[in-house]
Every structure is written in structure tokens, then in C-alpha cells.
């Protein structure tokens, strides 16, 4: 072999290891989607022209998702530093305009940075055999993103500010991801809670992605958050809350009543906000003491738009303010509720109101 050939071989060996199948499939789907969107826009333009001809002044607006925001191609999440994110969302399935067939082949997770840029995350699995919505998780500060990677057969944690990426040493078979699976992430991205099927008795897993150490989470409990070295676990119907240290241990406390939509632990370390099941339509939160199980007080929420309903609670912004996720005719919104006064102020807009399609920082 000549020196040229061996130098070429040596240089070729410097090529980095890659795993491109899923990214290529996602790229293909994006292109296809863009083509469809352009065809759709052309069709709408033609239709609009016809309407204008028949009845001047009439305005035709396409119903459903706006193709400009939902179907337009966006760049893939690049390696390295991209900045903290404010939310992640799952793109909707396409419905054939004529055939009315639903095509979910191009669905992908996207993230929106705080500066407003949107990236596709084709490496994040969107659906498994049993789960049409395989979740992602965002740390409370929007810095860390966790998702399941088909290529790695494991969860991956991306530090979007620092640029680092860690693949969980604990492999999880894709088929284990059942209907209604759940994912939660600690602020530092070190701990990951995975529930293969919420609401079932199948146990979940708390994983230390640095060491690979795992702690089993009893199937009856569902994970709300991982914060300050403890996983907040809820057993519904009874209702029990268990602040389980990430190394295991601790014991649950029982509340008097049936509560849903739990927030994370407040900065005081002992309060959570939840909605009493019987008061679901009353726009009222209950503050609960996680040490004693006692109800601290009820907070009626003022300042929400008419006709909107509470979808859940989220993180605490301060000792007084907890976020409440609300959906209504104008889409999904996050409100900051002052629990001392009951006044809510608009905190963030979440885009089109499609339940379960948006993931917020710190909310599993």
C-alpha cells in the first residue's frame, strides 16, 4: 500500500462514530411534511381565491393547527450549548385533507428555547408499541432535557446550557415503555425517574445516571418531581404522598381526602398544592402539609380567563407563587398563583391547547 493509501486510511479512521438512522428518518419525515405543508398552503390559497371570487370580503381561515407553526420544518437540536428551554411539545399527526387518514409518521418532539428558537429532537422517541406518547422531561430551570433514545436503548440527559450529554447506563427496552409512561428529572440532571406505565402496579425506577444505581419505585406510586434530593411520589385515591430520598427510604404521609394535580414541594420544604377531586370545577387549590398530612388552607383562584379549566399545577416560582396550567379557548397558558391572595397572573403561553402534548420545566 502506498503512503497515500495508508494516509487516507489513517485519516478515514478519524471519522467519528455516528448513529444516523433515526435522524435520517426524521429528516425524511420533515421534508415530506414541508412538502405537504406547501401543498396545503397552495390549496388554501386556491380555495381563498375562489371564495374571494364568489363573495368578496369573505375571510377563510383554515381550522385546526396552523401549518406555519406546527408543520414547518425546524432545525434539529444541535450538539453543544443551545440555552435553557421553556417547553417541549409533540407535533400533531397529519390528517389527509381528502382521505382523512391520520398519519403519525412525522410526529416528533420539539423544544422551544427561552430566546424563542425551536428545534426538533428527532433522537427522542415519540411513541412505542404501547405508548402513543413517550414522554420527555425538562428540569425545573429548563437547563436539562431527558428523553428516551431508541439508538441507545436508554434515556439520555442533555445539558442544554453546558453542552454535555449523558446516556443512562441503565438500558430500558423500548417495549417496556407502556401506555401512559412517565419521566421526571432532577435539577442537576443526575436523577431520572421512569414509570413504565402510570396507574399500573408495575414498579418504576429511579436512576442515578452518573453511577447507574437504581432504586425501585413501588408501582402504586406515581412520581411528581425530583427535588432537593428526594422524589415526590403520590399514591392516588387514598391519597398518600411519599418524599423518598433518592437513595431510598422514607415513609408516606396520608392526606384527609382525595387529591389530584399535585405541585412539587414548595421552597419551605413542607407544602404542596393540589386540587381536591370534589372541587375540580371550582378553581380552587388546597395547600397541604407533607409532614403531618393536614390541610393548611384552600385558595380560590381569581384572574383566570372565562371558560378555562385547570389542567395541573407545576413548579413554585417563590415561597408565595405556584404555577397553574390552564387551558381554554385561546390555548394553553401557565399562570403564577399567589397562594396568599389567590390572584393569578399570566406567566407563559403554551401554544395550541393540546393536552398531554406540552411538557413544561419541572412538570412530569
Amino acid at each position: 500500500m502506498t503512503r497515500l493509501r495508508s494516509a487516507l486510511a489513517g485519516l478515514a479512521e478519524e471519522a467519528p462514530l455516528v448513529s444516523l438512522a433515526d435522524a435520517a428518518i426524521a429528516g425524511h419525515r420533515r421534508r415530506r411534511r414541508t412538502r405537504l405543508a406547501l401543498t396545503g398552503v397552495a390549496a388554501v390559497t386556491t380555495a381563498a381565491a375562489l371564495v374571494v371570487t364568489v363573495a368578496a370580503g369573505a375571510v377563510v381561515l383554515p381550522r385546526g393547527a396552523d401549518p406555519a407553526t406546527e408543520a414547518a420544518a425546524v432545525p434539529d437540536l444541535p450538539d453543544g450549548k443551545v440555552g435553557a428551554i421553556s417547553r417541549a411539545y409533540l407535533t400533531p399527526c397529519e390528517v389527509g385533507k381528502k382521505t382523512k387518514r391520520v398519519d403519525c409518521g412525522a410526529v416528533e418532539w420539539r423544544v422551544v428555547t427561552r430566546s424563542g428558537r425551536t428545534y426538533g429532537v428527532p433522537q427522542a422517541l415519540t411513541s412505542s408499541r404501547d405508548d402513543p406518547r413517550v414522554p420527555v422531561a425538562i428540569s425545573r430551570d429548563g437547563r436539562m432535557l431527558a428523553y428516551y433514545s431508541r439508538a441507545a436503548q436508554a434515556h439520555v440527559v442533555r445539558d442544554l446550557v453546558g453542552g454535555a450529554e449523558v446516556t443512562s447506563p441503565v438500558k430500558v427496552e423500548e417495549d417496556r415503555i407502556g401506555a401512559g409512561s412517565m419521566l421526571a428529572l432532577s435539577d442537576d440532571g443526575r436523577y431520572l425517574a421512569f414509570d413504565p406505565r402510570e396507574g399500573s402496579k408495575e414498579p418504576g425506577l429511579l436512576v442515578d445516571v452518573r453511577t447507574g444505581r437504581t432504586v425501585s419505585i413501588p408501582g402504586r406510586y406515581e412520581v411528581i418531581s425530583i427535588k432537593d434530593g428526594a422524589a415526590e411520589l403520590i399514591r392516588y385515591r387514598k391519597t398518600d404522598l411519599w418524599l423518598m430520598p433518592v437513595t431510598g427510604g422514607g415513609k408516606p404521609v396520608r392526606f384527609d381526602g382525595t387529591f389530584i394535580m399535585f405541585s412539587e414541594i414548595a421552597p419551605d420544604g413542607r407544602t404542596v398544592a393540589a386540587v381536591e377531586f370534589a372541587e375540580l370545577n371550582k378553581r380552587r387549590l388546597t395547600l397541604l402539609d407533607v409532614k403531618t398530612g393536614r390541610t393548611l388552607r384552600k385558595v380560590s383562584i381569581g384572574g383566570l380567563p372565562k371558560g378555562s379549566g385547570i389542567d395541573g399545577t407545576g413548579i413554585w416560582l417563590s415561597r408565595k407563587e405556584v404555577t397553574v396550567v390552564v387551558s381554554g379557548r385561546s390555548g394553553g397558558h401557565s399562570y403564577a398563583l399567589d397562594v396568599t391572595t389567590g390572584k393569578a397572573r399570566r406567566w407563559a403561553d403554551l401554544g395550541p391547547a393540546r393536552k398531554h402534548a406540552t411538557v413544561l420545566p419541572g412538570v412530569s
Binding site: 487516507l8 485519516l11 478519524e14 471519522a15 455516528v18 438512522a21 435522524a23 428518518i25 429528516g27 425524511h28
Partner: protein, 168 residues
């Protein structure tokens, strides 16, 4: 069973080999990955046809080279890496050859570079190279001649004097 499973298997088996070719063509790891990914994204669309009777690898390689030339024609700048190519500390002959080769390949035209990669890395014959690049055998011969002449001028130690005769 996913309709893309066959494509996934193909990529899993051949992506590293294709990535090496892409890397030799572009000289930059990120560009090479972009190049290969964009080509594979197109291959997915043709996969049903390719898997039935085509030669997916040959098709992909051809698409890779053509896409590379198309990119270069749009004057996409080559971004030389500021980092040393390897973390090794010993600069033996082979390492020096790689450093020199990286530098001189960047000075060839895109088609000359493709010739070098296809002829001396992929070991394709002149006829096969002509098929990949969609040009005549005569064109392959002349482009290779010019590429080797340029290499010989920039890095005489890399190119045997007899090489051109051997390749003819």
C-alpha cells in the same frame, strides 16, 4: 415491525464505512455527519425500491459524492478544525502523513478530491468511478492525473512517482 426497520439495519451496518468516505470528502467531522445524514434522509424515501432490487450501498455512495459536489458548488465553506486531529502525542510518520494529507486535500477541487477518495480509498476502478460521478472514463483519467499532479506538487512524499502508471 416498523416500515423503516430494513433501512435501519442497512444504516447500522454501513454507516461507519459511509461516514469515513464522507469525512475524507469534507475533511470535517460535523460537515461529514451533515452530509451523510442529508443523503440518508433522501435514501429513506427511495428505500422501498432500493430494498427490492437495487444496490442501496452503491446508490448511497453515489448520492454522497454527488451531494458533496453540489454542496461545494454552492460554495459552502470548508471549516478546518482548529484542533489537532488526534490526541496522541507521538508525531510518527503516519501521523504526519495524515496531517499533511488533510491539508493538501483541502487544496484540491471538489471533483479532484472525490477522484482521490474514490480511486485510492474506495479502490474503485476508472469505470466504476465514472459511473459514480456520472462522467466519462476519459474525464476520470484526466481528473485523477490533475489531482495526483497537484498532490505531488504539494506533498511529494505522499505520492509515488510510479503511482500514476499503476492507476492507468
Amino acid at each position: 415491525m416498523d416500515r423503516h426497520d430494513g433501512f435501519r439495519e442497512f444504516v447500522l451496518a454501513r454507516q461507519q464505512s459511509l461516514m469515513r468516505t464522507a469525512y475524507l470528502l469534507t475533511g470535517d467531522a460535523h460537515l461529514a455527519e451533515d452530509l451523510l445524514q442529508s443523503v440518508l434522509a433522501k435514501v429513506v424515501g427511495h428505500w422501498p425500491k432500493l430494498s427490492k432490487g437495487g444496490n442501496p450501498e452503491a446508490y448511497t455512495r453515489k448520492a454522497l459524492v454527488n451531494q458533496y459536489i453540489a454542496w461545494k458548488r454552492r460554495s459552502r465553506p470548508e471549516l478546518p478544525s482548529a484542533d489537532p486531529p488526534d490526541s496522541g502525542m507521538s508525531y510518527d510518520d503516519a501521523t504526519l502523513d495524515r496531517i499533511v494529507l488533510r491539508r493538501v486535500l483541502a487544496k484540491l477541487t471538489c471533483k479532484q478530491r472525490a477522484m482521490i477518495v474514490l480511486r485510492f480509498w474506495e479502490d474503485l476502478t476508472e469505470a466504476q468511478t465514472a459511473e459514480v460521478l456520472g462522467c466519462s472514463i476519459g474525464n476520470v483519467k484526466s481528473q485523477t492525473h490533475h489531482a495526483l499532479a497537484r498532490l505531488r506538487m504539494l506533498a511529494p512524499e505522499l505520492v509515488d512517482v510510479r503511482m500514476e502508471e499503476v492507476t492507468r
